[in-house]
């Protein structure tokens, strides 16, 4: 689909455009909407956001590239970002992340073959007292260990299997 003239997003787009004296300021919230629609910030998304904010598409592209939360390629259904920054690393986050990648049988930043999970490490997420922790599709999961993650991963895999039947 598209985000332009899409009833699903119309209200939100108008709301963001109305928040600022300059349309250009809406570029970040609108990029999130594009990412939601396409699963990543696609070329179509960039063109649409540029049109909505009265910006040059190359400017929109450079904004999307500057920030790490806009993804330029599709991710798995669950995008797992483990914090391995100092405070979390002191409580075993590096080891947790290492084991998680091994369990999913992927490399840093990779996606599992079934398209369900992408995993990578990130910098501090402001939850340092609850390490190991990660962010899954922008929601926090805290006080983790590998056993908890394995159970959660298998649950999601079972859900997928049920859906495909």
């Amino acid at each position: 689909m598209a985000i332009l003239n899409n009833p699903k997003y119309e209200d939100r787009i108008q709301w963001h455009l109305s928040k600022y004296p300059d349309k250009r300021s809406a570029v970040m919230p609108l990029l999130y909407i594009a990412q939601e629609e396409y699963g990543y910030v696609s070329q179509e998304g960039i063109l649409e956001v540029a049109q909505l904010c009265d910006m040059d598409p190359t400017q929109v592209k450079s904004i999307a590239g500057f920030y790490t939360m806009y993804s330029e390629k599709p991710k798995g259904r669950y995008w797992l970002q483990t914090c391995t920054d100092l405070a979390c690393a002191l409580r075993g986050a590096d080891e947790f992340h290492h084991d998680l990648l091994a369990y999913l049988e992927i490399e840093e930043g990779g996606t599992t073959a079934d398209g369900l999970f992408t995993a990578e490490h990130v910098m501090c997420l402001a939850a340092c007292d609850k390490a190991p922790m990660l962010q899954c599709n922008f929601h926090f999961m805290e006080n983790l260990d590998l056993a908890k993650m394995k159970a959660w991963i298998e649950e999601k895999r079972a859900e997928l299997e049920k859906q495909s039947k």
């Binding site: 928040k19 600022y20 004296p21 300059d22 250009r24 300021s25 809406a26 570029v27 970040m28 919230p29 990029l31 999130y32 904010c53 910006m55 450079s62 904004i63 500057f66 920030y67 790490t68 939360m69 806009y70 391995t84 920054d85 100092l86 405070a87 979390c88 690393a89 002191l90 409580r91 075993g92 590096d94 080891e95 992340h97 290492h98 990648l101 840093e108 490490h121 990130v122 910098m123 501090c124 997420l125 402001a126 939850a127 340092c128 007292d129 390490a131 962010q135 922008f138 929601h139 926090f140």
Partner: protein, 436 residues
């Protein structure tokens, strides 16, 4: 603390809800402010001694007084970017006591006669922004946001804005650029945000941290004199201390600035997390402040701006990362250096190149391939970054290595001399190097 000023969610269940909040002094500070002149509000905040909680500790009332009175358009931006390792206090305020932040921001807006407040949250605070939006709507329904606030002639809008993963957007001028839809890179100053040409859309703007503004309603209701009863002479009030790392009870604690490190780390946090281990080192202000050994002198220091300066460090945003004696301080320095290399926005050469070189040298040392002249090289690179970068990140970036060499030379020299493979913290395996 018996009664909290900021973490009032600990005293009053569900204070994040509008109805509960108004039953407990909620929006009383704003109402009181509306009955005063803007100058009187600024004077009260000045008299309270409230200092900025985002790191630099600049007096809030003085900052507000810099805003020119005769400019027609002015803004308040709330810094909720909270991205420094070890910092997780603003998030807790917004989760548990969001109306008090909104009220504090509105009092600031009244004091400088701003037409709008923008709360800039780091992108990961997606759920929090959603809750804040609901709180803003609740406040609007009761006449505290929008036209003619509290029946007065003062009108002001409040909006949230989500960042998208860039530590540098916590730096105030980068934050303003990001909010304007530009690349989140710092601006050349002057003009400063408070001046015409320097703020949001070029208009005079106050940028304050979440915690700073959350103090303001309490100060309005109880008065500056009451507020000054907490803390020390130059550090009035209470502070949210974030404790992480090797303690038994990590978390956020609200305490007067007069509290010592020992009281917090032993009495409240329960001492070292692993039996048989002892405390070795402390980063009192996340990755960017100078590291100190956790000896008796430091432990008996009060956690105020003036006292921490006496032991060679800063309290900054009070993000205490505690390390026990299993930790190799060179590993810590390398972890933090990688963070700054990753987060350098690349706009100025000394920072972009400097962080690259520091990281390269420390990697070499960690791999057991350090050279005796590396210490000199590091000092040289650091010297060439100091004081000439566009923002303070360039200065922060040299801190971890420089202070590790100074405070823990044995950890450093061991790597260089013995050419040993390093032992990571707490016997843990390390994952692929962070930050690349």
């Amino acid at each position: 603390m018996e009664k909290h000023i900021l973490l009032r969610g600990n005293d009053v269940p569900n204070i994040h809800q509008y109805d509960v909040y108004v039953q407990h002094e909620g929006y009383a500070g704003l109402k009181k402010a509306l009955g005063m002149t803007p100058e009187q509000v600024i004077d009260e905040v000045k008299a309270s001694g409230l200092r900025g909680r985002g790191g630099a500790g600049f007096p809030a009332g003085v900052k507000w007084s810099f805003i020119p009175k005769n400019e027609p358009v002015k803004y308040v931006t709330v810094n909720a970017d909270e991205s420094e390792t070890g910092t997780f206090k603003d998030r807790l305020i917004m989760e548990t006591n969001p109306h008090q932040l909104i009220e504090g921001a509105l009092i600031c807006a009244y004091a400088i006669q701003a037409k709008a407040v923008y709360i800039y949250l780091r992108g990961e605070f997606w759920d929090i922004a959603h809750q804040l939006d609901q709180c803003i709507e609740d406040a609007r329904r009761h006449g505290f946001v929008g036209q003619n606030i509290g029946g007065s002639s003062f009108s002001c809008e409040v909006y949230t804005h989500l960042g998208a993963g860039a530590y540098i957007c916590g730096e105030e001028s980068a934050l303003l650029n990001s909010l304007e839809g530009k690349l989140g890179q710092p601006r050349v100053r002057p003009p400063f945000p408070a001046q015409k040409g320097g703020g949001l859309y070029g208009e005079p703007t106050v940028v304050n941290n979440v915690e700073t503004l959350t103090n303001v309603p309490w100060i309005m209701v109880h008065g500056a004199a009451e507020y000054k009863k907490f803390g020390t002479e130059q550090s009035a009030g209470t502070k949210l201390y974030c404790v992480s790392g090797h303690v038994q009870k990590p978390g956020v604690y609200e305490l007067p600035f007069s509290t010592t490190f020992r009281e917090l780390l032993y009495d409240i946090c329960g001492g070292p997390s692993v039996e048989g281990r002892s405390f070795k080192a402390l980063l009192p202000s996340g990755g960017s402040g100078p590291v100190v050994p956790l000896n008796d002198q430091v432990l008996d220091t009060r956690m105020s701006y003036e006292d921490t300066a006496k032991v060679g460090t800063i309290i900054g945003s009070a993000s205490l990362i505690v390390m026990d004696d299993s930790v190799d301080m060179t590993w810590v320095a390398s972890k933090v250096t990688k963070f700054f290399k990753h987060e350098s926005c690349g706009k100025c050469t000394p920072c972009r190149e400097g962080t690259y070189w520091l990281d390269k040298v420390i990697d070499r040392i960690m791999a057991g391939e350090g050279r005796p002249e590396d210490v000199k090289l590091i000092e040289n690179v650091a010297k060439n970054m100091a004081g000439i970068t566009l923002c303070a990140l360039g200065e922060f970036a040299a801190n971890p290595i420089i202070h590790t060499i100074r405070q823990f030379p044995e950890d450093f020299n061991r790597h260089v001399a013995a050419k040993t493979e390093t032992r990571p913290a707490a016997g843990k395996k390390t994952a692929p190097a962070a930050g690349d």
